[in-house]
Amino acid sequence: MPNPKIVFHTQEKRLFRINKPVICNRKDAWLGKGYYFWAEEIYAHQWGNTSKRNTGSYEIYCASINCENILDTVFNEAHYNFWREQIEMAANEIFRISGRIPSRIAVNKYLSKISAWNDVSGISFQDIPQGHGLITDFYYRKRIRFVIFNLSILINFYFHKEERCL
């Protein structure tokens, strides 16, 4: 993974532009509370058209992030295996000890509350894969996202473009 890496952040268009990314608290955020980015601009547009429609337009911001302590679960096999094992170990142990099946949010929060986990500045991960309009049933495109847990690895953040929702 290049370091630093440029990533994309989509928000609804509002009266004022933002000068830092907006933290996501939504309960359906896959990896919990954090600042979310797309690795490719095309998915930042897609996100604007599907989930940032409230004001009729959306804005895309670029950021450079320092990837030194990012867990790269998309391209780094060791990182992926480590991440998968930690999730499964935590889920198994929580179930074994408590008798309850933890939610996705609970597992992510459990890992993030372990102090050593503070070393992990963020995670790159693969969303539901995507296909191409001319090829049926072939979802070969990785939709890669980044979640970062604090802004200390953000090198810069700047407005890129705005578009009207389709």
């Binding site: 309960k27 030194e68 309009g133």
Partner: protein, 90 residues
Amino acid sequence: MLDLNNLAEKVKLSLKNETKESLLKFLEEEEIQDNECPDSFGSLSNIYSSNIKLTFNSFAKYKNGDKLKSPFNLQNINPVQNKNNYQLAA
């Protein structure tokens, strides 16, 4: 550089120190916070992203900088059938 072995040890140690009571308390607190967390996006969060199709021509124009043509054809969005297919949020 992340020290994965050290991290894995810390996760193991943390889990080893848990009791049934401590984990139940953690899970219950988590449920309360989850229920308090608003999801203002409603059914949009259930859109299954694989149903959003890119067309080759529009994508090519988009890549060539033609801003007048949208790279997306959103006509094929269907509500998700399987509720376990969560849409990512940010």
